[in-house]
């Protein structure tokens, strides 16, 4: 069988034409730094996930993730999926906790 799967992952962008480079920089928000920090702790210190799991998780995001999600949004999506995969947290725990936080945020207002 002569099938040539030349599919290129969405992240595998070397050689494509990405257009003009936007040189604007943003200072990292605290929540972004916390994601970075948690990732360091989960990999280096706790060794309950690997950097390649983070990368694989990002690679698995929908194709428009690069357009519609920011860098650390992609990270937290991947970290969360990996933690669910590894059974560190359950979907139920996550949903319950997220609802509680949303409720609290809207109360504060």
């Amino acid at each position: 069988m002569d099938r040539n799967f030349t599919a290129r992952g969405n992240h595998d962008m070397g050689g494509l034409d990405g257009g003009e480079i936007n040189r604007d920089e943003h200072d990292y928000a605290l929540w972004e730094k916390r994601i970075d920090a948690m990732m360091m702790l989960l990999t280096n210190k706790l060794q309950i996930m690997t950097v390649d799991q983070l990368r694989k998780g990002i690679e698995a995001l929908p194709p428009d993730a690069y357009e519609n999600m920011t860098y650390y949004e992609r990270w937290i999506a991947s970290v969360t999926n990996t933690l669910l995969d590894e059974g560190v947290i359950t979907a139920d725990e996550l949903a319950t906790k997220m609802s509680a936080i949303e409720a609290e945020a809207s109360e504060v207002g």
Binding site: H11, D12, M13, G14, G15, L16, D17, G18, G19, E20, I21, N22, R23, D24, E25, H26, D27, Y28, A29, L30, W31, E32, K33, R34, I35, D36, A37, M38, M40, L41, L42, N44, K45, L46, I48, R55, I58, Y66, M69, Y71, Y72, E73, I76, A77, V79, T80, L83, V88, I89, E93, L94, K97, M98, I101, E102, A105, V108
Partner: protein, 237 residues
């Protein structure tokens, strides 16, 4: 928690739009202030971050203090670290040799720990200009330089610099002579890269601090050469 937003209040002025191509003397208190947490919009992903963090803390896997300390640890990593290393290499040829052969030890000599990072130091010469990218994600020598700039992680840079490096360099204001090799390094696996730029002309007799002030982050990524103004006039031309 708030801090200055777009305008730092320094004693000196520079062309400002977070253009840190030149450096301040090493100052552990100076780092880019983060945006205040804007909780007027608790976006879906901010909620997720909070949820995951709280769950991990509740499960005893991490503590808030550890997260805080890790943030401080990364905040202490700034391009100023790299600039000191470059300045030392410029004034001391033996140090430069040690830096290229055994980067971890040489960097430790000046009191900086690169942790688990496997580093390769790329020396710019009259024959070769080096530039670094991670096309697959955003690998970066963060244990020296801190967190990478947004453009380094962008689709535009990652896709184009491997294929048309001279055009990309030109967009950064850098022109490399035709008879010099432009050498692109794609950080695809376990190595991390640090460009040792060439010492600009006319800097004889300068102190290490003065030299370090000429070395910005972008020169250590390789999109500009060292020197005031970023474009860098070098003997190679």
């Amino acid at each position: 928690m708030s801090g200055p937003s777009d305008t730092h209040d320094h004693g000196h002025h520079h062309d400002h739009h977070h253009d840190h191509d030149h450096l301040h003397p090493y100052d552990p208190d100076h780092h880019h202030p983060h945006r205040p947490d804007q909780d007027d919009t608790m976006t879906y992903y901010k909620v997720m971050e909070t949820a995951v963090r709280q769950l991990l803390i509740e499960k005893g896997l991490i503590t808030a203090e550890q997260v805080h300390r890790q943030i401080e640890h990364m905040d202490a990593r700034t391009p100023a670290n790299g600039a000191r290393i470059v300045a030392r290499a410029w004034v001391d040829p033996d140090y430069k040799k040690r830096l290229i052969e055994s980067p971890k030890q040489a960097i430790a000599e000046i009191g900086h720990d690169i942790g688990p990072m496997h580093l390769i130091v790329l020396e710019n010469t009259p024959e070769v200009h080096n530039v670094v990218v991670c096309t697959l994600c955003s690998c970066y020598p963060r244990w020296i330089l801190g967190l990478p700039p947004d453009w380094y992680k962008s689709r535009a840079y990652r896709s184009r610099v491997v294929r048309e490096p001279r055009t990309v360099l030109r967009e950064f204001g850098t022109e490399i002579a035709e008879n010099r090799e432009v050498r692109v390094h794609d950080s695809t696996a376990d190595m991390r890269y640090f460009v040792l730029p060439m010492r600009p002309e006319g800097t004889e007799g300068m102190s290490e601090d003065e030299l370090a002030a000429m070395v910005g982050r972008d020169a250590m990524i390789g999109v500009v050469e060292a020197g005031a103004g970023g474009a860098g006039q070098l003997a190679a031309e």
